[in-house]
Amino acid sequence: MEKNTNEHIAPDMFEFAQKDAFLHDEKFKTKARGYFADALLRFKKNKSSVVAAWIIGFLILFAIFAPIISNYSVNDKDVVYTNYPPYIPSIAKKNIGMFDGSYTLNSQSEMQLASLRAIGEETGMDPVIKILETFETHSKYRGQDRVSYSYRVKVNSYFMEGIRTLVLSYEEYERIQQFQNETGIQVLYPMVEKTDIYVKAKEGADLSGAADNPNIWYQCEDLKGNALLDADGNRIPAYSTNQAKTYGEYHSQRIPSDPGNYIYNFVKSGSVQVRICYYNYYTYKNGHEPSYIMGTDTMGRDLFCSIGMGARFSLVFALIVSAINLTIGAIYGAIQGYYGGAIDMVLDRIADVLSGVPFIVVTTLFQLHLAQKVGTVPSFLFAFVLTGWIGMAALTRKQFYRFKGQEYVLAAKTLGASDKRLMFKHIFPNSLGTIITSCVLVIPGVISSETSLVYLGIVNLSDFAGTSIGELMSQGQAAMTTSPHAMLFPSLFVSLLLISFNLFGNGLRDAFNPSTRGTEG
């Protein structure tokens, strides 16, 4: 053994390497990253989920602001402009083929085209946007070749409404005149009489079979409505000058061609019958021109506003449902998972029985039993809650089984933590990420079933929310052939919402998945 030669070194010969500082571990320069920050980081790497999150944000903004910025409320119904295509006057005037309220009319005869032109001639708003195609037909008529044409026409459906006959009270009639004076917009048009239109028909002939169309203001050569033209090829006005039939003095602007003796109403007992240009009448009624970004639905409501209202309901409803299900499911699953054994089994059986009842049956029974007492929406909510929490409970239970055997739980138990504390302070926070994620994935499911049930007519939400996406869709489907937009926009909204919620939820799930933790960033 070697002898220690350093045994007798005096202590004062030692010297500190660093006299003025203590040695200690270096502090982490990086910031500690928590569980959620870590998940967020991984979530951001998933491009499609981030896009989905943006889309969700946009759709939520749409739901909040669409009903506010719309000119209309969900209760504004128009009786004439129902299922009309998207139309914004300022954009329509630019004629770029968008928002022009256009609708394609197939196989219009020459006469039909002429009557469309006549509407434009009278009201100054030509419904014909474009003639898309002209078809030529040759036929033999009494041995002679005859050529007839038919057209495919793109029309502005708002202008096509033209003139309508209305019966108004005297006060209303005065108000319209006043409106005309103030704005210069011609609402009232001179009256016409059948006897003036069909001048060529024999005296005392039966005119009941003649075309009865408020848009005919010109003389016709036959009862079908073919216009009688003068030498220059112009229509001959058939406005009535029969002062005996009119009420009161007309003291508002007259149409340009009026020599001053046209009458603007017919007296009806206690009221007046008038011809109004519906587009301008609408302006008079609503204070602005019709302007529907997404068109109107079957009840003449603004689809833009209606979808917003429906979306508000769907989103809030889905959020409430998933929050309630999260709470119930978490508590139920925590008890199941923590205690295990007989309690677990009994609770599992109960959940089994409940989950065996088909959802549609639950909804129906709740609607039939409770809707009268507590209202449609609460009973709908109960239906979702009754079976909705089961999935959440199963998930929580699984998480509890995973964590409850771990050492830190045992340690806390040894220190005397109560069951409640162990469950909700120690175990539950660990499973929170997974549970919240599945909560997000519940939302599209809720929206989808809510829409379906309303669509099927089992639940009727229109009293509560004004409207709902499912209702809009079912109306849209009924009018699919004439106005596809009424079906397109609600479907598009729901599809977009569900796709982005699913993408977003999947992204969250992957981000919170512990097995991918720490693999990146």
Partner: protein, 317 residues
């Protein structure tokens, strides 16, 4: 395995019985459908309800109901939609339409789904895989009635390929009937195809990366042999029960698709019975749908055991 199956079956029957009892009570407690004031039939309706036992205690009514079902296969008499007709035969007459539409749909969509899934898994992380996966995601998220709208609008209305709604009548196997069913079949198929594609892809990619695949390659199998003999077999453990489940599910059908395409099936019968307040019909269909749900659950679980010996062994412990 048999013991397990039996146990599950008994449990299922118990669950079904409890649900039936609860639903029966709730449905019988409902007030009768409102008649207009001064309706001359009010007395008749009251007498009918009395004769049918509506005024007895609920428990007695339930006993009578079960007795009717078990002894005479009598599910009650429709009291609104098909007044006076027996519910059972009516229901049976609606089954073929629903079953055929759903059967065509799954026969058509399961192979396509599996093939797409396998293709995506084998070409993992290529553009083909990405586009299939994205499409699957989109198709699964969008509710089936949106496809129904699209198909009805474009194929039926714009192109005029199919009729708008399903043909009436009972000639279920005539060509014109088949064509008129196609829109409904297609609308149902999208979801099924996407579901099977997703499951197959997920399962197969997992199996392909597992270690026994490496072993198979090292012992000299080509990639093709290893995939067909080892990977597919393992992947089928998950897919086949899904197929069984879909086959049980064809009885149930889809409410929305049946409504949109006017399929004269069970789904429309159910919706009509709710909207028309036809409670005996509603009761029977409730039992039917509950049973379908429970049976398909059991079939899926048990078929796992039949297909995979590992699960069978595990249950013996």
């Amino acid at each position: 395995m048999v013991k397990y199956a039996l146990k599950r079956f008994v449990l299922m029957l118990t669950t079904l019985f409890i649900i039936t009892a609860i639903c029966f009570t709730l449905i019988r407690l409902l007030p009768p459908a409102q008649l207009p004031v001064g309706d001359p039939h009010a007395d008749v309706v009251r007498a009918r309800r009395e004769a049918l036992g509506y005024n007895k205690p609920i428990l007695v009514q339930f006993g009578l109901y079960l007795k009717g079902i078990f002894t005479r296969w009598d599910w009650g008499i429709s009291d609104k939609l098909y007044l006076g007709q027996s519910v059972g035969p009516l229901f049976i007459s609606k089954l073929p339409a629903t079953m055929l539409v759903n059967l065509y749909s799954i026969i058509f969509s399961i192979p396509i789904g599996i093939i797409l899934g396998v293709f995506a898994a084998l070409k993992k992380n290529t553009w083909a895989d990405h586009s299939i996966s994205t499409l699957t995601m989109v198709v699964i998220s969008v509710p089936s009635f949106v496809y129904a709208f699209l198909i009805q609008y474009f194929l039926s209305y714009k192109i005029g390929l199919f009729p708008f709604v399903m043909k009436g009548g009972t000639d279920y196997f005539s060509p014109s009937m088949f064509v008129s069913m196609l829109p409904a079949v297609m609308s149902l198929s999208f979801g099924t195809i996407a579901g099977f594609t997703r499951t197959t892809r997920a399962e197969l990619t997992e199996v392909l990366t597992s270690e026994f695949m490496l072993l198979a390659r090292t012992k000299g199998l080509t990639k093709r042999q290893a995939t067909v003999r080892h990977a597919f077999k393992n992947c089928m453990v998950v897919i086949v029960p899904g197929i069984f489940g879909s086959f049980v599910g064809i009885l149930g059908g889809s409410f929305i698709i049946e409504k949109i395409f006017s399929v004269p099936g069970v789904g429309s019968l159910y919706i009509n019975s709710i909207n028309g307040r036809d409670y005996p019909m509603f009761m029977m269909l409730t039992i039917f749908y509950t049973a379908i749900g429970l049976v398909s659950g059991i079939v899926v679980d048990i078929s796992y055991g039949f297909i995979d010996p590992r699960i069978r062994m595990g249950s013996k412990k």
